[in-house]
């Protein structure tokens, strides 16, 4: 059986080579000013540090779980920094870099993985929806939200765009494909940002799809493209372009950010069981942070003092992450019943009252409550 579509080498949008050379792209303008690039470098370093601290905190028993973003910093910071304040993002559960760009604090991110909440932040305050754990579900929420934006008449040059994040594994889900179709049929202002990190836990991307992911968009009737997911310049430029198209009423875009999950799926995973270390070695040479550093040095945009300053800031952040994580208070037992319903629900109200009485029955007793 032959399939030329599957074999043809896809075009990859790249603005910054792994060696740190900036190569302008005719379709995706980017202005690498010193301040801009230094800002991106700082973002990348700090979220990598936040991530590393969280992995360590999980190892120490302070977090129940952590899904590391290691290797995917450029895809997340690039797309995250392309967002306007009014734009709405619908993440999966690994988008700590996007969360960072949206002003979600490390404390709120850690709260969920520590198990003190199933959410953690106000989606409306940050225009960043809660992490969604069931794979692909959020793509439909984003599409519906974008349909609401259309109905609000909030499109235009300064209008609102929506972005949703998911991985290569999610492209196998019905919901993701339904979202592609709903978005296409409604011409909804949504950007589908797929971080193809090559692995859905233990399954390589060839177990998810035969044709390159970005090409699926054509079948649904909207543009798709593949970008170097380890190139923060390119990720920013292509996402900004897609968001602008969306906000101006030109409909959805699928961006496949071609990247690599350098770490385990989560802290519960053991990638040595299913993939060769040489593969990670190869991707290490395409590291998203090293190439920005090379660029800054090559262009003389940053000196040792700058890099030392960012490192010091990372140290400080790490310390803050550790302190804040340990300081997160456990919720109270009756919080189980909080906000299940907006309006009173007699069954639940009764259960809460009975459980409160049960808890109260231990008060004063020996070995009370716990």
């Amino acid at each position: 059986m032959s399939d030329s579509t599957a074999r043809e080498e896809p075009e990859l949008v790249q603005l910054l080579t792994p060696d740190g050379e900036y190569v302008p792209h005719p379709d995706y303008p980017f202005d690498p000013t010193p301040d801009h690039v230094r800002g991106l470098y700082r973002d990348l370093v700090l979220v990598r540090r936040l991530d590393a601290e969280a992995v360590a905190l999980q190892r120490q028993g302070e977090l129940g779980l952590w899904a590391s973003l290691l290797g995917q910093e450029a895809a997340q910071i690039g797309s995250g920094r392309a967002l306007q304040p009014q734009d709405m993002a619908f993440p999966s559960y690994r988008e700590h870099g996007v969360a960072w760009c949206r002003g979600v604090t490390h404390r709120d991110l850690l709260a969920m993985f520590r198990g003190v909440t199933n959410g953690g932040w106000d989606p409306y305050e940050h225009n960043f929806h809660l992490y969604t754990i069931v794979i692909g579900s959020q793509t439909l929420h984003a599409t519906g939200y974008a349909m609401g934006v259309q109905r609000d008449g909030a499109l235009g040059p300064d209008g609102t765009a929506v972005i949703t994040y998911f991985g290569d594994g999610a492209t196998s889900q019905g919901d993701t494909n339904e979202a592609f179709n709903y978005a296409a049929v409604n011409n909804a202002p949504v950007v589908f940002f797929c971080q193809n990190n090559q692995w859905a836990i233990s399954e390589p991307s060839e177990r998810q799809t035969r044709a390159p992911i970005y090409r699926r968009a054509a079948g649904f009737g909207f543009p798709g493209l593949r970008v170097d997911g380890n190139d923060v310049f390119a990720c920013l430029a292509v996402t900004r372009d897609a968001l602008q198209r969306a906000r101006e009423g030109q409909g959805p875009t699928l961006i496949e950010a071609f990247t690599y999950r350098m770490g385990a799926h989560t802290t519960s995973d053991d990638p040595t069981r299913y993939r060769a270390s040489e593969e990670a070695e190869e991707w290490r040479r395409k590291d998203p942070i090293a190439r920005v550093r090379s660029y800054l040095v090559r262009e003389g945009m940053a000196d040792d003092d700058f890099f030392a300053g960012v490192d010091a800031e990372a140290e400080k952040l790490g310390e803050q992450v550790r302190t804040d994580c340990r300081a997160l208070p456990d919720p109270a037992p009756l919080d189980i019943f909080r906000e299940v319903y907006a309006e009173p629900h007699s069954h639940l109200d009764q259960q809460r009252a009975e459980f409160a009485d049960y808890l109260a029955s231990f008060e004063g007793a020996e070995g009370a409550a716990r």
Partner: protein, 327 residues
């Protein structure tokens, strides 16, 4: 009070129309709900009067309907989703159970999702497979959802409006074999002034036995009560299945001492089992007999030529009544 003669289906239609007139954020969405007006014509005329932005013909994908409704609700809309038939709900189960029902709690109350899921349910119309099921127990077992059903046009008119006005997700089960039943509907007043959505209703007063039913079974229960000339049977129409108005049920059972619960759904782990357990806990010393359940069998819904044997009818309900009195 002035009234209009309406079928149950037309009453839902009129209620939807009024909700859309009262609140521009109310949207209707689903398969064939636009130009066609839905396969049962429940959304008839809405597309013409409110346009495609508010009456959305969706692609044929139920998970997409509920999933996008969640996003629309997050953006401030009040989507009323139509699932074409009970058996077609299941592709939307994931979005309903893992997202819609749980997002309020997950967000600690920061997200309010006033989504209504309308589902024509139950049997009795001679349909092919997947068109006659009673899935209410799946919904009542799920925290975060409210579940209601209606048995007459008056409730249909008001409760659809109340469901839309409710800030919680509401599963609105429509007894499809009663769509064509007619009665007077009093359209004056407001949804807030009508009988609350969560309240049960004593549909027929009696003294010897309480017969609890809801949705399509209320009519059968009333017929059974009339047919039993030996006993005075009280019929309670639950209306709300989550929460159940237990105060009304308990008050009745404490007076009559006997309870039969009837529903089309299979009895095992059905709502009748839950009601039996609750009544046993709360009315134990008032009971003259165990609670009797009359319902569908623990089988797939049968081919339509067999459904009259599957659906509890007047005689099966009276058989349950006899078993209670024989105890």
């Amino acid at each position: 009070m002035s009234g209009t003669e309406l079928t149950l289906g037309k009453a839902i239609n009129a209620g939807l129309r009024r909700a859309m007139e009262d609140d521009p954020k109310v949207l209707v969405m689903g398969e064939d709900v636009g130009r066609l007006g839905g396969v049962f014509r429940i959304t008839d005329g809405l597309y013409k009067d409110f346009g495609p932005d508010r009456v959305i013909d969706t692609p044929l994908a139920e998970s997409g309907i509920i999933g996008t409704a969640i996003g629309l609700a997050m953006r401030g809309y009040r989507p009323v989703c139509e699932i074409q038939f009970d058996g077609f709900f299941f592709p939307a189960a994931d979005q309903t159970f893992t997202q819609l029902a749980k997002l309020r709690a997950r967000s600690e109350g920061r997200l309010t999702l006033p989504v209504v899921i309308r589902i024509p349910y139950g049997g009795g119309i001679g349909a092919v497979e997947h068109h006659s099921e009673s899935p209410e127990a799946y919904f009542t077992h799920t925290a975060g959802l409210r579940v209601v059903t209606v048995a007459n046009p008056e409730d249909a008119y008001w409760m659809i409006q109340q469901a839309i006005a409710c800030d919680d997700p509401v599963v609105f089960l429509e007894p499809k074999r009663r769509y064509w039943d007619k009665a007077t509907v009093h359209t004056g007043g407001s949804p807030a002034a009508a009988t609350p959505m969560g309240a049960a209703r004593v549909a027929r007063a009696g003294t010897d036995l309480t017969l609890v039913a809801y949705g399509p079974m209320v009519k059968v229960a009333l017929q059974a009560a009339e047919a039993d000339t030996e006993h005075s049977i009280e019929v309670v129409d639950l209306r709300s299945l989550s929460p159940v108005d237990y105060d009304t049920v308990f008050e009745s059972v404490r007076r009559t001492g006997r309870l039969v619960v009837a529903h089309e759904a299979p009895v095992t782990s059905g709502l009748g089992a839950e009601i039996a357990a609750r009544v046993t806990e709360s009315c134990f010393y008032h009971l003259e007999a165990p609670v009797i359940r009359v319902g569908g069998f623990d089988t797939p819904y049968p081919p339509s030529r067999l459904e009259e044997h599957y659906l509890p009818d007047l005689d099966r309900i009276l058989d349950g009544v006899d078993r209670s009195f024989a105890f």
